[in-house]
Symmetry: C2
Subunit: 192 residues, 2 copies
DNA sequence: TGTACATCAGTGAACGCGCGTTCACTGATGTAC
DNA sequence: TGTACATCAGTGAACGCGCGTTCACTGATGTAC
């Protein structure tokens, strides 16, 4: 009960608090002061752990990216096995997971793929999600499930299309169903 | 020279000034006061013409959307005619124009497709760019240039992929060449 | 076990800022007779 | 053609705000001897 002078894990607590604030209000409307206040800590306490506000947001972005990666990992785990069917399911599931993440956590999605995190070399190309997509496509290709000649550049199309449709959905330009339509169309165009 | 009391066309001038500010610094870093100052006008003058700041930004967004539409119209005009080749060139050109707009005017692109303009029912689905894409795809389809069964849902894929890749390029997650790669891959997958 | 001291992680007051917006006002313009 | 008046489009001062960040400080903790 007694609040000790030293918080003990302020850095983690601030990131967690900031994460919730971002999820709810978007990264643009998060302030260090509000986070500090929510944690009953002085506004300047953050500076013992972070160089500035953006550093906190980047940490939040890392959490967001990890959450996306975890969703994708869960999908892979849900469709194990060596069969062609499982390989197809993994591919479709990854796309759905990406879009679901955007729809369910739009503010986090915007932060993760927005300018603040982009500047922090936090690129998804070098991390989990992209690697999982590449692996899934390679798997399909190895199994001869891709249309002839389709593999080349397919990463970029699939990522781009998923990302674009996710963005357009969360801004209200496309209906939610566009996500499923995309998966179906990609299957039809690239898989045999 | 003599600055008259009445500006004469303040609304247009503010939008133009705001447009330049958005292009240069991004919509997030534009302030009404700075715009007013640049036009040698009091900070409150804007309120005779706009209900609030967002109204100015929406007007800027409309300009941005018009600029995108004009680019696309220019591409169509550059490839006139009834031949299959022209139809393919129009389709590829539209995609390239979309991505070029994003790359050359990233801040405008972000504003046009961002939350502020999305709230203002300024959707591109109901306006020039999207209609041009649909027409180009219908044209290809009529000519029998699409892979069998590909037309359905293709608008969404193509728009989504273009939008996603454009976004990922301007945030630095994909290289510029990804745009051309996308066009090539879409041709390969959907056209015959 | 006790003590001196360095370091860590907080405090809280303040700086300095720019912002969107409101308000009472006034000069300029247009219109009706 | 001249005059009265309504309306339009500005002014400029002020309100009230929250923000990121700095700074000198101090209480708590850990370590060496």
């Amino acid at each position: 009960m007694s609040r000790s002078y030293h918080h003990g894990a302020l850095a983690e607590a601030m990131v967690e608090q900031a994460l919730n604030a971002v999820r709810e209000h978007g990264a643009d409307h998060v302030s260090l002061r509000a986070i500090a206040q929510a944690l009953d800590v002085s506004p300047s306490a953050a500076y013992n752990h972070f160089s500035d506000k953006d550093a906190v947001l980047v940490a939040v972005g890392r959490c967001g990216l990890a959450a996306l990666d975890e969703r994708m990992a869960r999908v892979l785990a849900a469709h194990p096995g060596d069969s062609d069917e499982a390989a197809r399911a993994r591919f479709a599931g990854l796309g759905r997971a990406y879009i679901a993440f955007a729809v369910e956590e739009p503010n986090l999605f915007r932060l993760v793929f927005g300018p603040i995190c982009a500047e922090a070399d936090m690129g998804p190309e070098s991390s989990g999600p992209y690697v999982k997509l590449v692996d899934a496509l390679d798997d399909l290709d190895t199994r001869g499930l891709l249309v002839a000649g389709a593999r080349d550049g397919l990463d970029v199309i699939v990522w781009g299309a998923s990302h674009g449709i996710a963005s357009l959905i969360i801004e209200g330009y496309l209906p939610r169903e566009a996500g499923d339509a995309l998966i179906a169309s990609m299957d039809r165009l690239a898989l045999r």
